[in-house]
């Protein structure tokens, strides 16, 4: 897997988001023998999204384990292993299936350290393929970061680029806290520059991925390219949008958001998830409190419609935010 990056001048090479996942895990497995992987079809098959290709070959069956279809056992066993000296990386194939082991993510993993008065730590990563736009229908298309966001005690990572996948995977696996790591299905084929060796992106640091003085767009994962494209189009209309890639929901980098807002005075969130219960609500509520004085206009959230994800393309694009919707929203706001 190393050769994905090594051996050629980095500048010429591009790596896919998909490859970055496997590379990110492999780098940590090379570093630390306590890192082990488990999940359905991840070993011999390399994962149904091909995000674990090469791991079995490089690290062997003692470190890469195929499991039954038993989401509770997968995440529960990862927890037990994490409490006893390992650093498991568990895959839940689609993020929708987090619901099948929700007790572990809601009640066990994030609480055991606190409720034992700090006696144990749970250094594990639950990786999962997230998000829609691929016509997979209601039960395989959700952006479910918000489920985890309702639960104190989980770190939540959702990278938007291959370099961030690798850097945030490193941080997640090295973290002594549990991390839910959302890999966006819609980004798997996207490409980017590979990061240097030992690239680590600290969890909880948002990135200003485009600067602009008129309005702040805050986005996550697949909505980052949507926001960037919208910013590009708005630029042509003379509206300068600053784009913040949150990268993580927990820790939530409100400093970066508020600092951007101090420059722009206008805020729009771009969220794939449904409006109701979405992370944008929490973010906006912090802004409406601590950043109230900075605001020159209403805050808008371009978020998913509050419906399940439909199958047909023509319907799905009504539900998930598009560049058009973001542009229209910002345009209206700029005129406020």
């Amino acid at each position: 897997m190393a050769d994905v990056i090594d051996g050629q001048p980095a500048i010429q090479r591009q790596i896919t988001y998909r490859e970055a996942v496997a590379e990110g895990i492999a780098r940590e497995m090379r570093r630390d023998p306590a890192v082990v992987c488990l999940g359905e079809d991840i070993a011999a098959a390399g994962g149904v999204f091909k995000t674990t290709v090469g791991l079995l070959e490089e690290f062997g069956p003692g470190r890469v384990w195929d499991t039954p279809i038993s989401e509770q056992a997968i995440v529960g066993a990862a927890m037990g292993a994490a409490m006893t000296g390992m650093r498991p990386v568990a895959e839940i194939m689609f993020s929708d299936f987090l619901a099948c082991c929700w007790d572990y993510l809601a009640n066990e993993i994030p609480k055991v350290r606190y409720m034992t008065g700090g006696q144990v730590t749970v250094p594990l990563v639950v990786r999962t393929a997230n998000g829609g736009g691929l016509g997979f229908g209601a039960q395989h298309s959700q952006a479910t970061e918000n489920w985890a966001f309702t639960i104190p005690g989980l770190k939540i990572a959702a990278p938007a680029t291959p370099a961030d996948v690798i850097g945030m995977m490193a941080a997640a696996i090295r973290s002594d806290d549990p991390v839910v790591f959302f890999e966006h299905k819609g980004l798997l084929a996207s490409k980017g520059a590979p990061p240097p060796p030992d690239h680590v992106v600290e969890l909880g640091r948002a990135a200003v991925v485009r600067e602009g003085g008129d309005v702040t767009l805050v986005a996550l994962a697949s909505m980052v390219p949507v926001a960037l494209e919208a910013a590009q189009r708005l630029d042509e209309e003379g509206i300068e949008a600053e784009v913040v890639d949150l990268r993580c929901l927990v820790p939530l980098d409100m400093s970066t958001v508020l600092a951007s807002l101090a420059r722009t005075s206008r805020l729009v969130t771009v969220e794939e998830n449904p409006y109701q219960g979405g992370w944008g609500g929490t973010l906006v509520s912090v802004v409406a409190d601590e950043g109230f004085g900075l605001l020159d206009a209403p805050v808008r959230r371009v978020a998913g419609e509050c419906v399940p994800l439909p199958f047909a393309d023509a319907l799905e694009e009504q539900v998930i935010p598009t560049v058009d919707k973001v542009v229209a929203t910002v345009r209206a706001l700029a005129a406020y």
Binding site: E40, D41, A44, P68, H140, C306, V307, F311
Partner: protein, 331 residues
């Protein structure tokens, strides 16, 4: 040919034709997928037809059926037309689910086909609930849940079977054991040899196995267990051995399966088995050819009609959440 044999042959011919219809419809779906007209994903059941058709023949019209994402065969076996299925796969307004469900969620509630569910194991408790409801309403209906070998290792399986057994409900659990979950052999991840049947004793219910590629045997087994359930003797587990002809989904070439194994199973094709039985019953080849011809015709017309049908009105995205037809979550 005696009357009995003639009746038998006639019945079997009907089952054969239905299996052929399923096969042909799925073939069309596959072709449409490859030509870009079916989006998302498909999980073809080619090879599993005898289970759906045999079971369906053993059930009452008002019984309930619950299936998985691999559910084309069950939907068709319960009377959905190829046209409405293909239209759904092709995102047409005329689809079974008005293009909101897709391949993984084919449903025809009007004929008791209460849905295809894409989270492994989730529908087993639902089938238990439908059986409970049938009992409460005193209708004599039963419910059947079809599921894969992989589903036998998930918690919902265990909870559903125990509750069904405790309440002695009229529900059948039919496992389509095709030897693989997605790409992993079921034997690698299951503690017992028969993932379903070997679990029956944990619930004090009958656990049987049957050749899932023999439509006659499937019909017999399901008939017997259905009668038992209807008589108030409780649930049962039936493990039908079968094999999928295609990969797990979409373009999966299924290279993880040994060539010898594939070959052996392809030789035990449920359609061939039925053909052999029909020939033995004295049904002439041309009768079979006529059936095949009818099927070809129906499916071709279905493809054409589905192709010609309009896509969904985009406003449909915001309907059908609530029983009032709307989707409003706030004032």
């Amino acid at each position: 040919m005696g009357t009995q044999v003639r009746d038998q042959a006639q019945e079997l011919l009907t089952l054969y034709e239905r299996m052929a219809l399923v096969r042909r419809t799925e073939k069309a779906a596959h072709d449409l997928f490859l030509s870009g007209l079916v989006k998302g994903t498909t999980h073809l059941a080619a090879g599993h037809e005898a289970i759906a058709v045999g079971a369906s023949a053993a059930l009452r019209a008002d019984d309930y059926v619950f299936a998985t994402y691999r559910g084309h065969h069950h939907t068709l076996a319960r009377g959905a037309t190829p046209e409405e299925c293909l239209a759904e796969l092709m995102s047409r307004a005329t689809g079974l689910c008005r293009a909101k469900g897709g391949s993984m969620h084919l449903t025809k509630a009007a004929t008791g086909m209460l849905g295809s569910y894409a989270i492994v194991g989730a529908h087993l408790p639902m089938a238990v609930g439908a059986a409970w409801s049938a009992r409460l309403r005193g209708t004599g209906q039963i419910a059947v849940a079809f599921f894969g070998d992989g589903a036998t290792n998930i918690g919902a399986f265990h909870e559903a079977l125990n509750l069904a057994a405790v309440w002695k409900l009229p529900v059948l659990f039919v496992c389509e054991n095709n030897l693989y979950m997605e790409y992993t052999p079921i034997a690698d991840v299951t503690a017992v040899a028969r993932p379903a049947a070997d679990r029956a004793s944990a619930y004090g219910i009958p656990g049987e196995t049957v050749d899932g590629n023999d439509v006659v045997l499937v019909r017999e087994a399901v008939s017997r267990l259905a009668e038992r359930a209807r008589a108030g003797d409780g649930p049962a587990l039936l493990e039908a051995e079968t094999y999928r002809h295609f990969g797990h989904s979409r373009a999966d070439p299924a290279t993880y399966r040994p060539a010898e194994e594939v070959e052996r199973w392809l030789k035990h094709d449920p359609l061939d088995v039925a053909r052999g039985q029909l020939t033995e019953l004295g049904v002439p080849t041309e009768t079979l050819a006529q059936a095949d011809e009818r099927v070809r015709d129906v499916v071709q017309k279905a493809v054409d009609a589905a192709k010609a049908a309009p896509g969904p009105d985009p406003r449909e995205a915001l309907t059908d959440v609530w029983a009032d037809g709307g989707a409003a979550w706030r004032t």
